[in-house]
Amino acid sequence: MSEPIMGTFHDAETGETVTRELTAEEIAALPISEPTRVYE
């Protein structure tokens, strides 16, 4: 089984941070990456 994709959610107003698995909807919304720029 692959590792779950996690999210760390911080609220600056309350100071709370919650770490949990991303929902299917949140995973679908993740960016499709552009080609990585690698330099010599």
Binding site: M6, G7, T8, A12, L22, P31, E34, T36, R37, Y39
Partner: protein
């Protein structure tokens, strides 16, 4: 928040101390530990400040190269279009170049290679206003070319936060957020 000039002999009240003691030009707002693929912060952009400074200390070694990405966020939803950027980079051997996003679906902030800490300093201008948001930033890491970037998010929307993302694995480190005080 206005500056107050105290006069000789004036009583320093608790209220004045709490209000003005931290009345520096750059005011700490919050910090949080980065530990996941997606690391959103909400409610850090408010009407108290127009412009912000963030520092990202990305510390963990990771296998291979991953991208550090940023998206603006409003009411729990990331903005996924209209990130225009231009980046100048330079390598330790003195070669250099440039690239851009015209536009991208996220702001390409940096590459994170394995083994070395990555540092990022970024100014974010007017994210809370219902207007375009502008960015300038730099990054540096021993195993990566240093970048100087500038960008605009070409959507007139008010945002209350942002999301720091990795395209491979988890980010480990800390994000610090400050506001530039207004008069």
């Amino acid at each position: 928040m206005a500056v107050k000039t105290f006069t000789t002999g004036e009583v320093l009240t608790a209220s004045d101390t709490n209000t003005y003691l931290n009345n520096g030009g750059l005011v700490y707002i919050t910090q949080y530990a980065l530990s996941s693929t997606s690391n959103p912060v909400s409610n850090c952009f408010t009407s108290t400040y127009d412009n912000y400074y963030i520092q990202i200390d990305y510390t963990a070694a990771s296998a291979g190269t991953s991208q550090l990405q940023l998206r603006l966020r409003a009411s729990g939803t990331d903005a996924s279009t209209n990130y225009y950027s231009g980046v100048n980079y330079v390598t330790w051997s003195g070669t250099g170049g440039a690239f851009g996003q015209n536009p991208g679906t996220y702001l390409y902030v940096a590459n994170k290679g394995s083994g070395f800490r990555l540092s990022v300093g970024m100014e974010i201008h007017s994210p809370k206003l219902t207007d375009y948001t502008n960015f300038t930033w730099w990054n540096v890491s021993h195993d990566n070319a240093g970048w100087n970037g500038r960008a605009t998010h070409a959507t007139a929307t008010s945002y209350d936060g942002f999301n720091l993302l990795s395209d491979s694995g988890n980010i480990t480190g800390t994000c610090y957020i400050y506001g530039y005080r207004k008069a």
